[in-house]
C-alpha cells in the first residue's frame, strides 16, 4: 500500500535532485522530478529521453542526479528502461541483486510522437516501470515546435499564428486513453499547482507492479511566452478552466480528483500566455470556439467515465 500524504510537510526531506541545474525560471519540470524522487520509495533508477530535462541537468562534467540516471536517445527511453528492468529481473533471480524501481521521464515530443512506439511496446510487455511524461505542449528544447501534445490553436514556430491559419489546427492527443488502452493498471494526470495530489499519485504508481503512466502539466514560460512568476497560477487555471482535468484511472475505475463544478472562463487561462494571444482576437474566434469544444467534450467524457454524468 502506497504512503499517502495530506500536507506538503509530510514529504520526505531528502533531495535526490540537486540544485544548480539549468532548467528555466518558472519551468515546472524540477518540481516534478523533486517530488517523484521523494514519492518513489527505495532504490530507483531514472531514465530520461533527450529533451529539456536531459540537457539541463547533465551538462558534463556536472550532474543534478543523486540516483543512477541513464540517457540513451530521444525516442527510446521506454525501451531503454525496459532493458534495465529486464536485466535487474534476471540478475535478481540469478545473483540476488536488489531490483530498483525504474522511473522514466520523457517530454511530450519524446512521448506523444517519436517515442510512442517504444512506450507502446514497453506498456504491452508489462515491464515494471513508472513512465512520466512532462508535457509542455511543444518541442521546447529545439525552440518551440508543435507536437502531438500541442493544444488546438496554440502558436508554435511550426504552427504559427498566421493570417490564414491561426495556430495549430489539430487537437491534442489523449495520452492517458492511449495508456489505458494498453491495459495498464494505473494512469493519472499531474499538475504542479496540486503538489500533494501529485505526490500521492506518484507514490501510488510506485506501489503497483507493472507499467504505470503519469501525465504532468508543466508550464514553459519560454515557449508559452508567459511570466515565469505566474507558472503555478497558470497551472492552477488549467485545472479550474477544465483545460487540464486532474483525474486518475485505477483498475478500471476513473476518479476526477478536482471536480470543477463552475469552471473559470477559458480566456482567464489563455490571456496569461503569448502563445494564445491571437485566439482572443475577434477574427480568430472560430478557432477559440473549437478549442472550447475540445475542452468541453473531454470534460463530459471524463464525467461519464467517472460515473458522474
Amino acid at each position: 500500500m502506497a504512503v499517502q500524504i495530506k500536507t506538503l510537510r509530510e514529504m520526505p526531506r531528502e533531495e535526490l535532485f540537486a540544485p544548480g541545474h539549468r532548467l528555466c525560471a518558472g519551468c515546472g519540470i524540477p518540481q516534478l522530478v523533486r517530488t517523484a524522487l521523494k514519492a518513489v520509495p527505495g532504490p530507483k533508477v531514472v531514465v530520461t529521453a533527450t529533451g529539456c530535462l536531459e540537457v539541463a541537468t547533465t551538462i558534463f562534467p556536472y550532474t543534478s542526479w543523486r540516483v543512477p540516471w541513464v540517457h540513451n536517445a530521444f525516442e527510446n527511453a521506454a525501451a531503454t528502461a525496459a532493458g534495465i528492468e529486464a536485466a535487474f529481473k534476471a540478475l535478481e533471480k540469478k545473483r540476488g541483486v536488489k531490483r530498483p524501481k525504474v522511473i522514466v521521464f520523457g517530454g511530450d515530443g519524446g512521448t506523444f510522437d517519436i517515442g510512442l512506439q517504444a512506450l507502446s511496446g514497453a506498456l504491452e510487455r508489462g515491464h515494471d516501470l513508472i513512465y512520466i511524461c512532462y508535457d509542455n505542449e511543444a518541442y521546447m528544447n529545439t525552440g518551440i515546435q508543435r507536437s502531438g501534445a500541442t493544444p488546438r490553436g496554440a502558436a508554435t514556430t511550426t504552427s504559427p499564428a498566421g493570417k490564414v491559419i491561426p495556430g495549430k489546427p489539430e487537437r491534442k492527443k489523449d495520452l492517458i486513453a492511449i495508456a489505458i488502452a494498453h491495459g495498464v493498471r494505473y494512469a493519472a494526470t499531474l499538475n504542479p499547482a496540486y503538489p500533494v495530489d501529485m505526490f500521492n499519485k506518484i507514490a501510488k504508481a510506485a506501489s503497483i507492479e507493472g507499467p504505470t503512466v503519469l501525465h504532468y502539466f508543466t508550464p514553459c514560460p519560454t515557449g508559452w511566452r508567459s511570466d515565469p512568476a505566474k507558472s503555478i497560477e497558470i497551472a492552477r487555471l488549467a485545472v479550474l478552466t477544465r483545460v487540464w482535468p486532474l483525474y486518475e484511472y485505477e483498475d478500471g475505475v476513473y476518479r476526477i480528483n478536482v471536480l470543477v463544478k463552475s469552471p473559470r472562463p477559458i480566456e482567464d487561462y489563455l490571456k496569461l500566455q503569448g502563445r494564445f494571444a491571437h485566439l482572443l482576437q475577434p477574427e480568430n474566434r472560430w478557432m477559440l470556439e473549437q478549442l472550447k469544444r475540445d475542452v468541453e467534450e473531454n470534460w463530459n467524457r471524463l464525467l461519464k467515465l467517472a460515473g458522474l454524468a
Binding site: T58, P68, G83, K89
Partner: protein, 399 residues
C-alpha cells in the same frame, strides 16, 4: 584419430548457422536477450526463445516491438550489468543505426549476431555485406564467420572479448545470410562446463547501482565531446591485442586456431584475392586448383574486420604484386567499395604495395562461382604483368 583426441570433451553435432549461434548464446548463459524477428536472423532468436521457455536458459527475453527498441533495451540491460545478446539483419540493423554509436560510446558489452543481408531497395532477403559495412565506423568490434563452426566459436569469443575490462566495446559476429544462417553443417561444440570456464559470468564495470549513483549518457558539447571521442579512439586501439589473446586462449579449449587474417598460399604468391565471409572457401578452392598447375596465387580472408588488422594484412601480402579486393557491397560515388578503401588506406604509406583491383560480387545472394574467382585471378595476373591496372572495378557474375 589425432583429431578425435584433440577434440576430447567436444561433441560433433549438425546445426545451421543460426542454430549454432543460438546454442553458443545459451552456453554463454546470457542474462538478457532483446530482439525483433527479421529474415535470415529469425531462427537465432526463435531457438533462444525455446531455450528460455523450456527453462534451459535463465534469461529475460524481451520481445521488443522494433529493432530500434531491441538495441535500446540492450544498452540499458548492459549498463545494468547484464550479459546481453541481440541478433538482426540488414533493415533491422539500419533501424538500429542510431543506437549503434551510443552502444559503443557508452562502453556496453552487447554481442550481436548479424546474419548478413542486402539492404533494400529492391527488397531482398539474401546475402550482401551492406549491413556490416554500414556500421563499420560505429565503434563495434566485427568478426566474420566463414562457416557454421566459426559462427559458433566466434559468438563465444565475442562475449569474452567485449566484456574484457581492457575492451568494453560491443561486438558483431557476421554470418552470411542463408549461406551460413540456414546451411546445416557439422560442427564441434564445447561442453557447458568448458564454456563456463572459458567464459565465466560477466563482471560488470561501473554498472547501474542505486548504492553508487552515476550519470550515464550526459550532454557534452564543444568543451568535452572531442576529448570523449579521443578517449574512445584510444580505448579502441587496445582491443586488437586482447582479441589475439582470446583467440589463443580459445584454442586451448577447442583446439581450433583463429587469426585476424587467414592466409592461403600468399607466401610465394604474385597475385591474391582478399575476401570476407563464407566465400573464402570458394576462393581457396580455386587458388588450390590454380596452384596445382603452378600458378602463384593466394587468398587472404579476414576473421576480424573491426578493428581492421592493417599491419597483419600488409605483412601477409608482402611480395604480392596485384591484389583483388572482393566486396559484397557497393559504395556509390566512392573511389572504391568499403573493403577496398580499408585496404587502400592500410597500404597508403607502404613503399612496397600491390596494385589494387576492386571486384564487386554476390549482391543480394548471387552465388560466387569458381569461374568468377578465376576471372579475378586472371585480371590480377594481367595487372601484375603490365605493372598497371586497366580496369579498377570489376562486377563478377552480374548479367
Amino acid at each position: 584419430m589425432a583429431v578425435a583426441l584433440q577434440l576430447k570433451g567436444q561433441r560433433r553435432v549438425g546445426m545451421t548457422g543460426d542454430e549454432a549461434v543460438a546454442y553458443a548464446v545459451k552456453q554463454a548463459d546470457v542474462d538478457v536477450v532483446a530482439a525483433y524477428p527479421i529474415t535470415p536472423q529469425t531462427i537465432i532468436v526463435e531457438r533462444i526463445a525455446d531455450y528460455v521457455h523450456d527453462g534451459e536458459l535463465k534469461a529475460s527475453y524481451v520481445a521488443v516491438e522494433s529493432e530500434h527498441s531491441a538495441l535500446s533495451a540492450c544498452v540499458g540491460a548492459s549498463l545494468a550489468g547484464a550479459r546481453v545478446f541481440t541478433a538482426t539483419s540488414s533493415q533491422g540493423l539500419a533501424l538500429m543505426w542510431e543506437i549503434m554509436w551510443i552502444a559503443s560510446a557508452m562502453r556496453t558489452t552487447i554481442v550481436m549476431a548479424l546474419a548478413n543481408r542486402a539492404l533494400s531497395a529492391p527488397i531482398n532477403i539474401h546475402c550482401s555485406h551492406d549491413d556490416a559495412y554500414a556500421v563499420r565506423d560505429a565503434g563495434w568490434i566485427q568478426f566474420f564467420a566463414e562457416n557454421v563452426q566459426e559462427a559458433y566459436d566466434l559468438t563465444l569469443m565475442a562475449f569474452r572479448v567485449s566484456e574484457d575490462k581492457r575492451v568494453l566495446f560491443p561486438s558483431i559476429v557476421n554470418l552470411d545470410g542463408f549461406i551460413l544462417s540456414h546451411a546445416l553443417e557439422p560442427l564441434y561444440v564445447l561442453e557447458d562446463d568448458v564454456v563456463r570456464e572459458f567464459l565465466p559470468p560477466k563482471e560488470p564495470v561501473n554498472p547501474i547501482d542505486p548504492e553508487r549513483p552515476m550519470t550515464y549518457g550526459p550532454l557534452a558539447l564543444f568543451d568535452y565531446y572531442f576529448e570523449f571521442k579521443k578517449a574512445q579512439a584510444e580505448a579502441f586501439k587496445s582491443v586488437y591485442p586482447v582479441i589475439l589473446e582470446v583467440f589463443r586462449e580459445y584454442e586451448k579449449y577447442s583446439g581450433r586456431k583463429y587469426e585476424p587474417v587467414k592466409a592461403y598460399g600468399v607466401e610465394d604468391a604474385d597475385v591474391a584475392v582478399l575476401i570476407l565471409g563464407s566465400s573464402a572457401g570458394t576462393a581457396r578452392y580455386v587458388a588450390r586448383r590454380l596452384r596445382s598447375k603452378g600458378e602463384k596465387v593466394g587468398v587472404v580472408s579476414l576473421t576480424l574486420y573491426r578493428p581492421f588488422p592493417a599491419s597483419d594484412l600488409v605483412a601477409k601480402l608482402k611480395g604480392v604484386k596485384a591484389l583483388v579486393v572482393m566486396d559484397r557491397s557497393y559504395s556509390f560515388g566512392s573511389p572504391g567499395a568499403q573493403l577496398f578503401m580499408d585496404v587502400a588506406a592500410a597500404f597508403a604509406n607502404e613503399s612496397e604495395r600491390p596494385l589494387l583491383i576492386n571486384a564487386i560480387y554476390g549482391l543480394g545472394g548471387r552465388d560466387l562461382l569458381p569461374e568468377h574467382v578465376e576471372e579475378a585471378f586472371r585480371k590480377a595476373q594481367e595487372a601484375a604483368r603490365a605493372g598497371k591496372v586497366e580496369e579498377r572495378e570489376l562486377w563478377l557474375g552480374v548479367r
